[in-house]
C-alpha cells in the first residue's frame, strides 16, 4: 500500500488541450489591448482567472494510490467520486502522450478493464519518467506477484523482444491505397482539376468545402499519426505496442487477454500481398472523457505487412491455428454472391477460424477458451437453400466470427463440436 498521491501540477493545462491554447490566445490579446489602454480587459481576466482556479481545484482534489491489489482514484468537489479498480481484472494498460503533454514532459496512464459500463481508470497526467515504472508495477501486481512488492523490479525494457516495426515508407503507401486514403485522394484530385480548369471556381470550392477537405484528411492523418513506427514487442508482462508521431502511445496487452484476432486484406492490398492484423479485447470501445481520436475499437498489431510476417506474429498470439479451411456448398452462391469466394472456416482443438468479406477479405481467429456463446441462425432464404450460419460470440466488441452459409447438417455438427471443444478448453484453462 502506498500513500495518497496527486497528479502532476501541470495536468489541468494539458487536459484542457485545445481549450488551453484558445485561452492563452484570449489572454494574450486582451493583455495587449489592455496595455494600449484602448479597452478594459477586466472581464476576460476574470473569466480566465476563474477557469485557472477551477483547474487548480480539480487538481487539488484528485488523488490516487495503490491499495493492496486495487488502484484507487478520488476526484471531484461537489460530486465526489471514489473509484477502485481491481488490478487482476485489467485487460491492458496504455501510456498515452499527446503532443501538448510531450511539450510539458507528461504522460497519461490508462487502465482497460473488461466491463461494458463504468469508467476507465485514467491517471492524467503523470510525469513522463514516472509513468513506465508505475505501469510495470501495476502489471506485476495484476499478475498477482505481491511477494515482489517493494523489491526492485527487473528492467522490463531490457526483457522486451521487438518482433516487428513498420517501415514508414510502407505505411505511407498502405494508407494511400486504403479506403480512407483513396477517398481523400479523389477529393484532392477533383479540387486540383477544378483549379486547373477554372482558378476562380476552385477558390470558391475550397472556401465552401474546407470542412469537407478537413473531414476526409483527418482520418488519413489520424491513421498515419497513430500507426507511425508502430512496433510490436514481446515482454514478460504481455504484448507491447509502441507507436505515434505527434501523440505517442505505449500499450501493454496482458497475456491471454486477446479475445479474437482478425486479419484484413483490402482489395488493393491483396495485389501487393499485404494485410493488417488487429486484436480485440474485452470491454467497450470508448470511455467517457475520451475523444474520437482516442477511440480504440481494436488494437492494430500490424498496420501493414506481408502475409509471411502476419503468420509469424499470429503464431505468437494464437498458436495452433487451423490450416485448411473448407469452402461452403455451391448453392450458397444464391444467398451471398459477393461473399461466396471468401467464405470458409476451419478449426483445431483450441481455435476456430472464419473468413468472410465482400470486397476486402476478413479472417478471424477466436481461441475456443474465449468463446462466450454459440448461436445457430437460419433465415428464410437459408432455410430454402438448406443452409445455416453459426455465430461464435466472444467478449470483444468489434471482431465477429461467423461460420456463414454452411450446409444445415454441417452447421449442426459444428455447433455440437464447438460447444464441446469450448467446454474442454475452458476447463483446461480453469485448472
Amino acid at each position: 500500500m502506498t500513500e495518497w498521491r496527486r497528479l502532476h501540477p501541470l495536468s489541468p493545462i494539458v487536459r484542457g488541450g485545445r481549450a488551453t491554447i484558445a485561452l492563452g490566445t484570449v489572454l494574450l490579446v486582451s493583455l495587449l489591448a489592455g496595455g494600449r489602454g484602448s479597452k478594459d480587459s477586466t472581464p476576460e481576466l476574470v473569466i480566465v482567472g476563474s477557469i485557472v482556479a477551477l483547474g487548480f481545484v480539480s487538481w487539488l482534489v484528485t488523488r490516487w494510490r495503490i491499495d493492496g491489489d486495487d488502484l484507487r482514484i478520488e476526484s471531484g468537489v461537489l460530486r465526489r467520486q471514489s473509484l477502485r479498480f481491481p488490478l487482476s481484472q485489467v485487460q491492458a494498460i496504455d501510456i498515452v502522450r499527446p503532443g501538448l503533454a510531450r511539450i510539458f514532459g507528461l504522460a497519461e496512464l490508462r487502465l482497460r478493464t473488461g466491463g461494458s459500463s463504468g469508467d476507465t481508470a485514467r491517471l492524467a497526467y503523470l510525469a513522463a519518467h514516472e509513468a513506465e515504472p508505475l505501469r510495470d508495477r501495476l502489471l506485476t501486481l495484476a499478475t498477482g506477484a505481491r511477494a515482489h512488492e517493494g523489491t526492485a523490479a527487473p528492467e522490463p525494457a531490457a526483457l522486451e523482444h521487438v518482433l516487428t516495426t513498420v517501415p514508414t515508407g510502407r505505411l505511407v503507401a498502405s494508407v494511400l491505397i486504403s479506403d480512407v486514403g483513396i477517398l481523400a485522394e479523389a477529393v484532392l484530385v477533383a479540387l486540383i482539376v477544378t483549379a486547373l480548369l477554372s482558378p476562380r471556381a476552385a477558390a470558391g470550392v475550397i472556401g465552401a468545402g474546407a470542412v469537407w477537405i478537413f473531414a476526409v484528411l483527418t482520418p488519413v492523418w489520424r491513421r498515419f499519426n497513430q500507426e507511425y513506427r508502430l512496433s510490436l514487442a514481446e515482454a514478460p508482462d504481455g504484448l507491447r505496442l509502441r507507436s505515434g508521431l505527434i501523440a505517442l502511445s505505449a500499450e501493454t496487452i496482458r497475456p491471454g487477454r486477446v479475445q479474437a484476432v482478425r486479419m484484413v486484406e483490402p482489395l488493393l492490398w491483396r495485389a501487393l500481398g499485404w494485410c493488417r492484423l488487429e486484436v480485440d479485447l474485452a470491454g467497450k470501445q470508448r470511455s467517457k472523457g475520451e475523444g474520437q481520436a482516442e477511440r480504440r475499437p481494436l488494437r492494430t498489431v500490424l498496420p501493414v505487412g506481408s502475409r509471411a510476417l502476419a503468420e509469424e506474429l499470429l503464431e505468437r498470439i494464437v498458436p495452433d491455428r487451423p490450416p485448411v479451411q473448407s469452402p461452403p456448398p455451391r448453392r450458397a452462391l444464391w444467398k451471398s454472391p459477393l461473399r461466396y469466394r471468401m467464405l470458409a472456416w476451419g478449426r483445431t482443438g483450441t481455435c476456430v477460424a472464419t473468413t468472410s468479406g465482400r470486397i476486402r477479405r476478413v479472417t478471424v481467429w477466436a481461441p475456443l477458451e474465449k468463446v462466450q456463446s454459440l448461436r445457430r441462425v437460419q433465415g428464410p432464404l437459408q432455410r430454402r437453400l438448406r443452409l445455416a450460419t453459426v455465430h461464435v460470440d466472444t467478449a470483444g466488441r468489434s471482431v465477429h466470427a461467423a461460420i456463414r452459409d454452411r450446409d444445415t447438417a454441417e452447421a449442426d455438427r459444428a455447433l455440437a463440436e464447438l460447444s464441446d471443444l469450448a467446454r474442454t478448453a475452458r476447463r483446461k484453462k480453469g485448472r
Partner: protein
C-alpha cells in the same frame, strides 16, 4: 455428442407458460379491435363499401397475426443441460443459442405491467459478449424464480474468467 443432441431433438425442451400465448393474442386482438371500430365508424358515416373493406382487412390481419403469434409462441423453447443452457426461438429467422453456464455474467428477471398482470416474467442471461442472446419470455413467476436461482447456482460453480 451428436448433432441431434445439440439441436435438441433428444433434449427435454421446456416452453414458456401458455399464458404468454393468451397475452400475445390479447395484444393482437386489441389492435384488430381498433381496426374493427374504425370500420364500424366508417360504415356508420355512410361509407359502407370502405367500411366493409376495412372490416375484411381487420379480419384478415387479425387471423394472420394470430397465426404468426401462435407459431412464434411454439418456437420458443429452452433446455437446461449439464453445462449449458439452450434457447431456441424465431419462425422466420430461427435461432438456437448455446450459452455455457460458466460464461454467465448476470441474470436479469424483468416483468412489464402486462406480463405482471398475467403472473409472467422474462429471464435473460447475460454473458461478456454483447451478441449473446439468451432471453426466455413469458415464464411462470415461480418457474422464473427457479430458473434464476438454478442458473446463479450452476453459474457460480462453473464460473470461468474472461
Amino acid at each position: 455428442m451428436s448433432a441431434e443432441e445439440v439441436r435438441g431433438e433428444r433434449e427435454s425442451w421446456r416452453r414458456p407458460s401458455p399464458r404468454l400465448l393468451v397475452l400475445r393474442r390479447l395484444e393482437v386482438s386489441a389492435l384488430a379491435l381498433a381496426a374493427l371500430i374504425a370500420a364500424g365508424v366508417l360504415a356508420a358515416l355512410g361509407h359502407t363499401a370502405v367500411g366493409l373493406a376495412c372490416l375484411g382487412g381487420a379480419l384478415v390481419l387479425g387471423l394472420g397475426a394470430e397465426r404468426f403469434v401462435s407459431r412464434r409462441f411454439h418456437a420458443w423453447g429452452y433446455a437446461e443441460r449439464e453445462d449449458d443452457l439452450l434457447v431456441r426461438r424465431g419462425v422466420l429467422f430461427s435461432r438456437l443459442s448455446v450459452v455455457p453456464y460458466g460464461r454467465m455474467q448476470f441474470i436479469d428477471v424483468t416483468a412489464g405491467p402486462l406480463e405482471r398482470s398475467f403472473g409472467l416474467a422474462t429471464v435473460r442471461m447475460h454473458t461478456a459478449a454483447a451478441a449473446s442472446d439468451a432471453r426466455i419470455p413469458g415464464l411462470d413467476r415461480a418457474e422464473a424464480a427457479r430458473l434464476r436461482d438454478r442458473l446463479a447456482e450452476v453459474g457460480e460453480a462453473q464460473a470461468a474468467g474472461l
